[in-house]
Structures are given as C-alpha cells and as structure tokens.
C-alpha cells in the first residue's frame, strides 16, 4: 500500500466511506483506515431512514433536505444497489389536543421553509395506513423522506471510492495521530505501520473522542444506545415508515402531549416502524446513555414491543426474530461536527450525527471534501464547527 497520501480518513462506517468517496472524486489521494470490516460499528446496528420530518425547522432540516437530493443521484452515480426507496414518511398523532396543535404547527413551519410536508386529517389517516390503531387522529407526512439499506450504502461508497482511486484498508487500527515539530498533523500510527499524510479526517463516530485524545483534543461526543427489533417476513405489512409524533418529544427532551409510563420515558422509548423491501419490518426505538455497552436489554425490548402494539395492533401476532443495539454518536446540540480542529492544523472531524448519520452521510462527505480541499461549501458550515462548543469557555 501507499505509505504517503494526501488525506487519511479514519473510520469505515457510512461517514468515513462517504468522505473517502467525495475526497477521491475531488482527485485527492486517500487512504481509508478501519480497524475491523467496513460497516461493522454503528452503521451496521441502526435503521435505514433518511428523514427530514423529525429535524428542527431551519438549518437542521435544510441540511437533511440537501442530503436527500444528493442521495437520489447517488443510486446511479455509485453503481451499487443500496435499496433506495423514496416513499415518504409519516408521524402518527395521538388523540391529544396539545399533540395535534404542536403537529399542525410543525407542518406549518416546515412547509414555510420549503419542505414537502402536509397534515393528513383524521378521516384520511386509515386510507394512508390501514394498519394503524383506530384512535390515531392525524398524520404528519414528509414526501421527500426515504429509506435504504445502511450497510449496502457503506459498501456502495467504499466500492466507488476504490474505483476513484482511494485505498481501502480494513482490519487496520489507528493507534494515534502523529504531529510534527510545529504541532501540525504528519500522519497516523496504525497496527499496519505508519501512514504519512498532512491531513487526517476523524470519522469514527462514538470512537472519535478516543482518537482525538491522542493529540489532546476534546470532542464532545457521547455514545447513546438505541435498540431495534426485527420482525419476521409477514404478508400484512405497513406501506412505509411511521413514527409516533411523540418521537420528536423523546428526541429533543420535551414531554407535553405524550402520555407514557415513566419507565418508558426513562428509556426514551418511542415508536419507529420501518418496513423493508424484504417483506419484514424493524421496530425502534430507545435512547440511553450507558457507555459502550451494546448488549440488548430485554426490559427495553419488552417496552418497545408494547409501544409498537399501541400504534400497530396487528403486530402482536407477528414474530420477533432478532434484536440489536447500536451506539449513536450524540452531541449536546443534536448537530454533527463537520469541521477543522483549530488547535491541530491538518486535523478534521466529521462525526456526531446521533441517529442521522446514514441520512446525512452524502452531505457530510461532500462538505468534508470541500473543506479539506479548500473549496466553497455546498451549504454554510458555521453551525457544524467544532469551536461552537468552546464559546461558553472563552
């Protein structure tokens, strides 16, 4: 392999592989270094949703919308089937005045910002999704939302990156980032030897802080665990993605309008229903700060199953065949970090997407390539800068 490159990308998940792809496309000599197989961490223990529906109106939802537009073209551009389907998604609204009010307001704000969203009234709810519980009184719909197979998306980016000239190095662990006398990046030390490079991009999700710590840089990313249940193939299945509207409240920490038991709230449980093109479906979700433990907690799975039946009664007779849990890279303001590191010239970070890494991978990879090669960025990157977290300290 090459021992000197323009850029080393650390991490073979969806963010690292997207970043390597866009960098190679820009003509940079890239080495993608991953300690295990590609798509073996968070990118293989998540779901495959690309959602603008649950993003905060403003920068957050616009960034996702931009990523969705890129993704549409990537299906042919990458030349690898990642099971892309643009069916739109919905949020199920329960019979609660406050929830209905907030949901209508959500649609109004997102539509005003240019997102293809609408509110589906009670009379039309069951025409849109006949399997929903009878007491669901409304649906928020976002037509641009889509789903895909996250692991296949990683393989697609990796294959295209390789074809564009990137060197893919799986089963090679980065031990530390190396600096020159002036403090700038000069490469990485790996289990397969040293790779010289004036630029290193950390795309290691929840493992990014550990790598950055080797050069004394603090990255405010914390693992947030999420469980998923997998159903068997079933003849009766939902048409498209449905989440409970209260999911927004669970995600952003608000409570009003969602009546669930304290235990359910404690584990951050909210319905996420995702049919797959293979005839089965996935059920989420939970949110817990419990370190790096990815074992499945049966109590959490029980509560998730209960929450899912509340919205989709038909599933009580469907078999669960598997469960899994992954670590979402959480940041305090729910926005990723796509940024240079001021203190270490040549060091960059693209991480911290929590549950949106799959959906935001195209725009993240593109932005990182633009930042590293000094091009104008596709969207403003100020809100994604690492130094936004230091402002209180200064």
């Amino acid at each position: 392999m090459k021992r000197t490159v323009d850029v080393v990308v650390v991490g073979g998940g969806v963010i690292g592989s997207a970043t390597a792809y866009y960098l190679a496309k820009e003509g940079a000599e890239v080495a993608l270094v991953e300690r295990a197989d590609v798509a073996s961490g968070t990118s293989s223990s998540c779901d495959g949703n690309v959602l603008a529906i649950d993003k905060m109106p403003g920068f957050d939802s616009q960034m996702t919308f931009k990523s969705q537009q890129l993704l549409e073209g990537l299906q042919s551009e990458l030349g690898y089937d990642f099971e892309y389907r643009q069916l739109g998604s919905t949020l199920a609204v329960e019979d609660d005045e406050e929830q209905v009010r907030v949901a209508r307001d959500w649609v109004a704000r997102q539509s005003a910002a240019g997102l293809p969203m609408r509110y589906i009234e009670a009379d039309d709810v069951h025409a849109d999704e006949p399997l929903l519980a009878p007491d669901i009184v409304g649906l928020v719909e976002c037509a641009s939302d889509c789903s895909l197979n996250p692991m296949a998306l990683v393989y697609a980016f990796v294959q295209a990156a390789r074809q564009a000239g990137a060197e893919i190095c799986p089963y090679m662990e980065v031990r530390s980032i190396l600096r020159d006398g002036a403090g700038a990046v000069r490469g990485v030390d790996t289990s397969g030897g040293m790779i010289c490079s004036p630029r290193v991009v950390l795309c290691a999700g929840v493992w990014t802080p550990g790598l950055a710590a080797t050069v004394g840089v603090d990255i405010p990313i914390v693992p947030r665990k999420g469980h998923i249940l997998v159903a068997e193939r079933t003849a009766r299945n939902g048409r498209r993605k449905v989440m409970e509207f209260g999911y927004l409240m669970a995600k952003f920490g608000g409570q009003e309008g969602r009546r669930v038991e304290p235990e359910m709230e404690h584990y951050g449980i909210a319905l996420v229903f995702e049919p797959t093109p293979h005839g089965n479906f996935l059920i989420g979700s939970s949110r817990q700060f419990v370190g790096f433990d990815t074992r499945c907690d049966v109590r959490v799975l029980q509560l998730m199953a209960r929450r899912a039946i509340r919205f989709f009664p038909f599933i009580k007779d469907v078999n669960v065949i598997r469960s899994y849990a992954g670590l979402r890279p959480y940041t305090p303001d729910h926005l990723p970090i796509v940024s240079p590191v001021n203190e270490v010239p040549g060091l960059y970070v693209a991480a911290g997407h929590e549950g949106d890494g799959i959906g935001l991978s195209p725009i993240t990879g593109k932005l990182m390539a633009e930042i590293v090669t000094g091009k104008p960025t596709s969207i403003p990157v100020e809100p994604l800068r690492l130094d936004r977290f230091n402002q209180d300290k200064k």
Binding site: D37, M151, R233, L301, I315, K316, V320, S323, Y324
Partner: protein, 93 residues
C-alpha cells in the same frame, strides 16, 4: 459446486452470492451476513451458518474453526411481539 445452489434457505442466498461477498471483503460469518442477508431470516443462521463458515475457510485458505458464529442476540427462538410485550400480564391485571 454449482454457484446457484442455495446456502441460506430463509433468505434464498446462493453460493455464488456468498463467494462474491468474500471477494468484496467479507472475512467473517457476520461480514457475509451483512453483505448477502445469509443468516438474517427466520432461523437466524441456525441452518446455514456452519456452511457459510466452511465456504469462508475454503475461499480464504483458513481453518473452519477460525470463523466464529455471528453475534447471538435475543430472542433465542422467534417470539411474538404480543408475548414479548407481556400481553398476558396486562390482561390478567
């Protein structure tokens, strides 16, 4: 052996698809599973996992013992959402 022979019956994955996944970089039973769906179906690899390990060993020139089974996750056997949710408890209470 015929490339079209089905190795994973639940997800109908062929020998040819598994060989292709190994060429693409799969180095473990889990790596094959993620690329092909072999072992993702109703039986969760109980039928095909040993065969996938043997194919990996042969293609990569290693011993079959070097390939660990895919990560075990609950439930051990399929269970309905209703049972998992504790439907019975709720009805009795």
């Amino acid at each position: 052996m015929d490339e079209d022979v089905i190795v994973c019956r639940c997800e109908e994955v062929t020998l040819g698809e598994i060989r292709k996944a190994i060429q693409e970089g799969a180095r473990s039973v889990t790596g094959v599973k993620r690329r092909t769906r072999a072992g993702m179906g109703l039986c969760q690899g109980r039928t095909c996992e040993a065969t996938v390990a043997r194919i990996l060993a042969r293609e990569l020139g290693k011993k079959v013992e070097e390939f660990e089974p895919a990560t075990a996750r609950p439930p051990i056997l399929p269970v309905t959402f209703g049972l998992l949710a504790g439907e019975a408890d709720e009805e009795n209470s």
